[in-house]
Symmetry: C2
């Protein structure tokens, strides 16, 4: 108990942030997996908050949203905090272009050098919920 874990292997990384756009590089060995991605206007980018991969950040369960001390403590699962038990980040981005194994997206809420761990197409009927409520 407590020792079971699954392994996440980086599939690429955030290479650059240029003129407001962002370049993601997917490692050559995975590039076949991108076939057909250009059919989608938007993608879900999954990444790993690698700079926070410490026991302390993983054991943090309550945070002040946006590190704003005037906001009351919330559970990390009720925020997008980069402190959480598994350091998964997600960002819904506009896919501007695919050049081989490089993806150009409009923006991402993560630093240059951040490991990418998965890419999925954004599928409106699954992912878009106009009636959703709740803000942080």
């Amino acid at each position: 108990m407590g020792t079971t874990y699954f392994k996440i292997f980086p599939i690429g990384f955030i290479k650059n942030k240029v003129k407001g756009n962002v370049e993601l590089v997917i490692y050559e060995k995975y590039s076949e997996g991108l076939k057909g991605l250009e059919d989608f206007s938007h993608i879900l980018v999954f990444y790993w908050f690698h700079l926070n991969d410490s026991r302390r950040e993983r054991e943090t369960l309550l945070v002040h949203p946006q590190k704003n001390l005037s906001k009351p403590l919330r559970g990390v699962f009720a925020t997008r905090s980069s402190s959480r038990p598994n350091l998964i980040g997600i960002y819904c981005a506009k896919l501007l272009e695919r050049k081989g194994n490089t993806l150009i997206i409009d923006e991402i809420d993560a630093l240059k050098g951040t490991p990418i761990i998965d890419i999925k197409p954004y599928i409106k009927k699954l992912d878009c919920v106009p009636e959703a409520t709740g803000e942080i």
Copy 2:
């Protein structure tokens, strides 16, 4: 090279599917992390396709969407396939109720017993893209 990996620890599991609803149990040690989640109508549930955690499924880069052989092969990153290098699944669910560390949601595209690896609130301004195009 090729051996760097990050560790994912299950934070809970899919307990039951009852009358069309689904019960997620988050382990007691993480329950504080749920504080405030009930302020959101919808949540993003991240899970692990644990039954597919084999070299074969992780090395699969091309699939027929919905296992339909009449559909041309696509890259796994351009599908929601449960075969992919990192076995992350995501589902946007309606949060019906929170009872302590149990979450009742409307549905999920995963089996009973599947490990949960993260929960995030669905935030409309980040996650809902009505103009998104592309279908599988």
